[in-house]
Symmetry: C2
Subunit: 327 residues, 2 copies
């Protein structure tokens, strides 16, 4: 068994810490401040993920002084990953598994690129993604995910560390596809949440999400990723779980926007980081650089920027046209 | 405007007849017996699709003597299509658009092959499929579909006939893919309905449906169809609409099976044809001939044959294994 850090006491971070502890690993939840670490230690978890109660063997520590680890799960929100890594004394040879799903807005980089820029060997970085609504995983319900690394040995190592009786990991070599899938489905989920709240039926919802999958696939291909990844758990699987479940924060954000709240108000109402919100404009810029059309993502970004209301955005997306089916 | 027959006073047939009438066409609903035709004429539709009220200009007629038509929509249940065509005096040069989603169990043929065997030029046959829950379409909610024909001119003609303000058709040349998508998603929907009723969460439901898409894609490829069709409305789009909506009869059949009803009892409870029930064993045989693995379809067929209960089938499907993500 291994000694595994979990950087970031987020809902998903704490949930994975609980899974790792159940798998027999010694878990160290790494926080930014001694106060946060003390709070996590005191309540054996965090308030907004009360289902997870870390076992007595689980430790807390500081990002700035993590001590020796066999590996570290990176569970910080996408937009603060770089700052967390900069503040961290983690040995740059420590295997890392990033589990956040987003694109860094300030730099336009995928998170594996952010990690490489912080000193890790890009080929060794691993990422995890898939249909993993945290509340279900925390409740012990079964789920499956994909672990990708350019170095298959690293994907295999993390696969064995993270997989357990209720959480099954598959391996992939397509880091780009897995990252684009996880980041972009959050944006499509905002659109789906808004469309559902506007009364869109099952038929058009399915059509909307299908077009979402098409634009995710276009971007993946334009960036050199594998379109087959979009057919799998980290693509359409995660997309379906998020678009057809109101447990997703991104989905809820869409519904709040459709109810007429301004973007800032809606984000404040949710309280926790909503990955799709910053990722939407980051993806629009990335898609423009790569030459990939992403109309749904563009509409979501326009709504979040306050440039368009939900009804107008939806009307633009559903405007009829007779054509050969586009992908 | 054209004179269009609709063979089969089924829920979907009557719904499409209503759409065609709204598009300005003269619709002739073709029934097997004078009694059925009189009943449809009297109530301007059918009891189980009361939302559709055919306009005064809509006619009824007999399959045996359809009269001259510019085109004919084939909306008979899959397992009775051949008998309907054999009984029909339709000119074999009349353009036909099949809208049922199944595989003929007795022969193992796709429905376009059944139509060709009845005397039509295989290249001219058109098929329609997509996320089109009939009750939503009948209620005037927007939806989109794919029309496929080996002869693109035929797909274009039907596209213009069927498309209207609330129903948008895209063209495709991939008849095989569109037919396999429509037939196989009904079987996966039975599995999803059963799994949902057994309490499967959103994460594993997404994983199950993702594996369903993978097996639909494998069969499509094995039969020479285009895997890209499975990424579109007639593949994953229809799959999502059916697996995540309880409006689908196939989905309801799965839920009834999970509640412990025997297959015959569950089918009797629904009353109308449930396409996936006969299509499941037909697809199993087709997949064996083509050399495509379809584990979910096999489990559904085994449950429907009374050889396995739902809990055992689900356990077999969700049995964990650590592997490279399979497609």
């Amino acid at each position: 068994m291994s000694r595994i850090g979990v950087l970031g006491a987020t809902s998903w971070g704490v949930t994975l810490a609980g899974l790792l502890a159940k798998n027999g690993h010694t878990v160290v939840v790494l926080c930014r401040s001694p106060e946060e670490a003390a709070a996590v230690a005191r309540r054996r978890g965090i308030a907004r993920m009360a289902q997870v109660v870390l076992p007595p063997g689980a430790e807390t520590g500081l990002v700035a002084s993590p001590g020796p680890l066999d590996g570290c799960v990176l569970a910080a929100p996408s937009q603060s990953l770089a700052a967390n890594l900069a503040a961290s004394a983690l040995d740059r040879g420590t295997p890392v598994l990033n589990v956040a799903k987003g694109i860094e807005l300030a730099s336009g980089r995928r998170l594996s690129e952010v990690i490489a820029a912080a000193g890790w060997d890009a080929a060794e970085v691993a990422v995890l993604s898939g249909p993993n609504l945290a509340h279900e995983v925390a409740a012990g319900q079964p789920a499956a995910a994909v672990v990708a690394s350019a170095r298959l040995r690293m994907a295999e190592w993390w696969q064995l560390v993270v997989s357990g009786p209720t959480f099954r990991c598959y391996r992939s070599g397509d880091v780009t596809g897995v990252e684009i899938g996880g980041a972009s489905k959050n944006v499509i989920a905002i659109a789906a949440g808004a469309a559902g709240a506007m009364g869109l039926g099952s038929n058009m919802m399915a059509a909307l999400v299908t077009r979402g999958l098409a634009e995710m696939t276009r971007l993946t291909v334009a960036l050199g990723g594998d379109p087959e990844t979009m057919r799998g758990l980290a693509g359409v699987g995660d997309l379906m779980a998020t678009c057809f479940s109101s447990l997703s924060r991104n989905h809820r954000l869409g519904a709040l926007l459709a109810s007429g709240l301004r973007p800032g108000e809606a984000l404040a109402r949710i309280g926790e980081a909503v990955e799709g919100a910053a990722t939407a404009p980051a993806l629009v810029a990335m898609a423009q650089r790569a030459g990939a059309e992403m109309p749904i993502t563009e509409e979501v970004a326009a709504v979040l920027a306050g440039e368009r209301d939900v009804a107008a955005a939806l009307e633009r997306l559903l405007r009829p046209e007779l054509a050969i089916e586009s992908r």
